[in-house]
């Protein structure tokens, strides 16, 4: 099992697993789009420029943010769709009983932006030549994919060499199945193809131009298969690397939308009161990030379960949610977030904020306070990915200081942090921000599984090994029956919470700030990285 987990706003992956069991309904989702006028140019803030715009190779949120409007997946996440999915290039899909094949019926009458017809050959090519060998997530999900048969132009049958849970494939569809045009990629060096920078897809918008350091421009695809869609004539992604810049540009009316919390949380309350601007928290339900404390079990103090439990009791999760996240988050109870009802186990016992208990546990574990009131010292590496991970690092240092654990913060930039934690294991505790991708098999399990080679980012590099957990993870990977598979993950959560290979602190989605004139914002669970066909500007 290889790795994937992740992190950074922008850059990440979010997958969608939206169980049929349903999202907490926060608002009545109107059937269809708000009545929206056609036309107009939407200017959006982008905080970075991905080096490729090919989501079939790099399935990350930074790439999707721009490329998902140009290149479409087989299915997209949807609040009230069947199985949490809405058909895109595939109209329907069905798995066989034995878990060895899945049949996709594809949409007819779809053309690429260059006028060529879209067929099952494109899907077969993308799956076998791109997703399986090249894509960061596809390498895992499609590891056992043998062949893709194309009995006709609009049917693709995926055949696997080992049973593959349909639940996993379904949950991964929005993220791992961006389809590329075979006629542009076949016979070329796929990773170096010019279309990676100027993508050609079937989506509602065509790629027009990229001015590095300034903006990306997408224009309306008049031949889009969706009737009367898209609504907008043009989307501009304006590059604004500094976070304060997005808020200023919104207030000055230079841009109309900033997603992924580009407007800092501290500024939200004020900006919400600016006439003409709205704050939208919907649209991130399938893009949940988790705030975790990663632990190096090679440190013999931390190898003691009681010490880890004491640390967990030291953290005031409500304070973290209210202060670090200003309420735009939820306290975590375990490794699966609460807004993944398909898998979440509500029966795990949360760790209360209990300093006395923490002190007692540390005493019992054999680490009494010394003369100076200190029990032992730890080096804490907060991930530099978000201001929230850093601030939580500041908080954790203070919190642990109260129970006599002396903490030194180590501030690294991104490459140095990844190297220190995931390759060199040069840390005691670290603050991380993995993303939940809709299915534990492609996000959570890698955080606790043993035997992962050094250097795999966002994986268990703390030297933790638990045979019982490893067995559950392996079993779940080949359990076809959805209920049995879910039950295994329930056990998984229970054991993780008790033994604490890592400590889950909070779960958060992002916020979007938009001008009141932008319609249909946040109306699907992966909204910022979806295709925006129905997004419109009020005149």
């Amino acid at each position: 099992m290889a790795g994937l987990l992740i992190s950074r706003r922008n850059l990440l992956l979010g997958a969608g697993a939206l169980a049929a069991a349903g999202w907490p309904l926060r608002m009545a989702w109107a059937a269809g789009a708000e009545e929206a006028p056609r036309g107009g140019r939407l200017v959006v803030a982008a905080d970075s420029e991905p080096r490729t715009l090919n989501p079939a190779i790099v399935a990350s949120n930074g790439v999707f943010f721009i490329a998902s409007k140009v290149i479409e997946p087989l299915a997209e996440a949807m609040m009230d769709g069947e199985g949490g999915l809405a058909p895109r290039l595939a109209k329907s899909w069905e798995g066989s009983e034995d878990g060895l094949s899945i049949t996709f019926k594809l949409r007819e009458g779809v053309t690429w932006h260059d006028g060529e017809p879209f067929t099952s050959a494109d899907v077969a090519f993308s799956a076998m030549e791109v997703w399986k060998p090249l894509q960061n997530l596809g390498r895992v999900v499609f590891a056992n994919l043998d062949t893709v048969e194309t009995p006709d132009a609009h049917t693709a049958i995926f055949r696997f060499s080992a049973p593959t849970p349909i639940q996993l494939i379904r949950n991964a569809l929005p993220v791992v199945t961006s389809v590329l045009p075979k006629h542009l990629y076949e016979g070329t060096d796929i990773a170096a193809n010019p279309a990676n920078k100027a993508p050609v897809g079937t989506g509602p918008f065509k790629f027009a131009e990229h001015r590095p350091g300034e903006y990306y421009r997408l224009t309306r695809n008049d031949a889009y298969w969706g009737e009367g869609l898209p609504k907008l004539d043009e989307i501009i992604f304006r590059v604004l690397p500094d976070r304060a810049a997005a808020a200023s540009a919104l207030e000055a009316g230079e841009i109309q939308l900033a997603a992924f919390s580009q407007v800092p949380l501290v500024d939200l309350e004020r900006i919400a009161s600016v006439p003409g601007l709205k704050v939208v928290t919907e649209g991130y339900e399938a893009l949940t990030y988790q705030l975790v404390v990663e632990i190096n079990h090679r440190n013999e103090i931390l190898a003691d379960q009681m010490v880890r439990q004491a640390i967990s009791h030291t953290i005031d999760r409500d304070f973290v949610v209210d202060t670090v996240f200003l309420g735009y988050a939820q306290a975590a109870t375990g490794p699966v977030p609460q807004n993944a009802p398909q898998f979440y186990n509500p029966d795990v016992k949360p760790y209360s904020f209990d300093i006395e208990r923490a002190n007692r546990l540390l005493d019992e574990a054999g680490y009494p306070r010394g003369e100076d009131g200190k029990r032992f010292s730890l080096r804490l590496l907060p991930a530099p990915f978000f201001s929230e991970t850093r601030q939580f690092g500041d908080y954790l240092r203070q919190a642990l200081g109260k129970v006599g654990i002396d903490v030194t913060l180590v501030n690294n930039d991104t490459p140095a942090h990844l190297k220190a934690v995931y390759t060199d294991h040069d840390f005691d505790i670290a603050v991380g921000s993995p993303v939940f991708r809709g299915d534990p098999a492609i996000s959570t399990t890698i955080l606790v599984q043993s035997g992962i080679p050094d250097g795999v980012p966002f994986s268990n590099q703390g030297g933790y090994a638990n045979a019982e957990l490893d067995t559950i993870i392996d079993q779940a990977a080949e359990t076809i029956d959805t209920e049995a598979r879910t039950a295994l993950y329930n056990d998984f959560q229970r054991i993780v919470v008790e033994d604490l290979p890592l400590i889950n602190v909070a779960e958060w989605g992002f916020t979007t700030v938009a001008s009141d004139t932008v319609l249909n914002v946040g109306n699907n669970p992966r909204w910022p990285v979806s295709s925006w066909t129905d997004t419109a500007l009020a005149s």
Partner: protein, 329 residues
């Protein structure tokens, strides 16, 4: 003219070893850094398995030894090839050619602002050393100097872009406006007003104080005393004799400040989202992009050398006492 040529030739010859030191130093620094270009990329990738990581390292040539990469790089450099940027997946030369003009505009305008306004205010202050005007200007400019440029930039944006809406909040020109020629120049100039102010006001103090000090000194010199004795009008003495003499060291200062301003543009370009050299350098560092960072440093070093050369030539032309030797080192 001959003197300028000699000076130029001498400067070019002596800068070759200097550039070599810079190249090797940059490479060694990034080599010593924890995490390489692949580590930097993994975050935006969101993770990958061990095989993917190894493949990436190989495709970027990071599996080769430092010496091998360094020789390859210097070899390519001799063919005027600055190499390939891993972070942007594009030739370094293209990136630099694209970003350098923006930074040159920014720096040029900021220098002009700091120099002209600084020396003007310096003359005002130095005209009556010790006067209230003098003290107010000297202290005020110092206070401005003490404000971090990012903070000054943010405040300027809030006041003049968000509240008053006189200027745009960020960027180098209006997006996809299709403007050309003079209209485009005017558009860029309009976008540059705030960033140039943020950068220029900081250095204003240096020129102001230098001018003022120079003037204070000039007042004591014989020819000024003589002019005063002759009963020339104070205004005339100030402009004709005192200020003119005090201007020379400012020219030298111009050369010294070139490197500092280039550094200052890193922060200002981040605040104003200007696709310039400084921001590129920051991106190169956080991407552990050795060819890009080295390219940037080489080009900025050459820029500094050229500016200093120009300053020396100007100085030699202005002040006949300076020979063809090292003028301002």
């Amino acid at each position: 003219m001959h003197r300028a040529l000699t000076l130029t030739r001498r400067r070019i010859v002596s800068s070759i070893p200097v550039l070599l030191i810079v190249i090797v130093g940059t490479f060694l620094l990034l080599e010593a850094a924890p995490g390489d270009a692949v580590d930097a990329y993994l975050l935006s990738l969101g993770g990958g398995d061990a095989g993917l990581v190894a493949e990436l390292r190989q495709s970027y040539g990071l599996d080769q030894s430092l010496l091998k990469r360094l020789t390859l790089y210097v070899g390519a450099l001799l063919r005027f090839d600055l190499g390939w940027s891993v972070t942007f997946d594009r030739p370094v030369l293209d990136l630099i050619a694209e970003r350098l003009p923006n930074t040159l505009w920014l720096m040029g305008a900021a220098t002009a602002l700091a120099f002209s306004l600084g020396s003007f205010l310096g003359i005002v202050a130095g005209a009556r050393p010790g006067s209230l005007t003098d003290r107010a200007l000297s202290t005020g400019s110092l206070a401005l100097y003490a404000v971090p440029s990012f903070w000054l930039g943010l405040v300027l944006v809030l006041v003049f872009a968000v509240d008053l809406r006189w200027f745009p909040t960020a960027g180098i020109e209006t997006i996809a406006s299709g403007k050309t020629g003079l209209a485009r120049v005017a558009d860029i100039a309009w976008h540059l007003v705030l960033p140039v102010s943020a950068l220029g006001f900081i250095y204003l103090a240096l020129f102001l104080r230098m001018m003022r000090t120079g003037m204070t000194e000039a007042w004591r010199q014989d020819f000024v005393l003589f002019a005063r004795a002759k009963g020339l009008a104070r205004r005339r003495i100030v402009l004709r004799h005192v200020a003119r003499n005090a201007l020379l060291p400012l020219v030298t200062m111009l050369g010294l400040q070139a490197a500092a301003m280039l550094g200052g543009s890193v922060v200002v370009e981040s605040v104003f989202a200007i696709p310039g050299f400084g921001r590129l350098a920051h991106e190169a560092v956080s991407g552990r992009d050795a060819p890009l960072l080295t390219g940037i440093i080489i080009v900025s070093a050459m820029l500094v050398i050229v500016v200093n050369l120009l300053v020396d030539i100007a100085y030699a032309a202005l002040d006949p006492r300076v020979g063809s030797g090292e003028a301002a080192s």
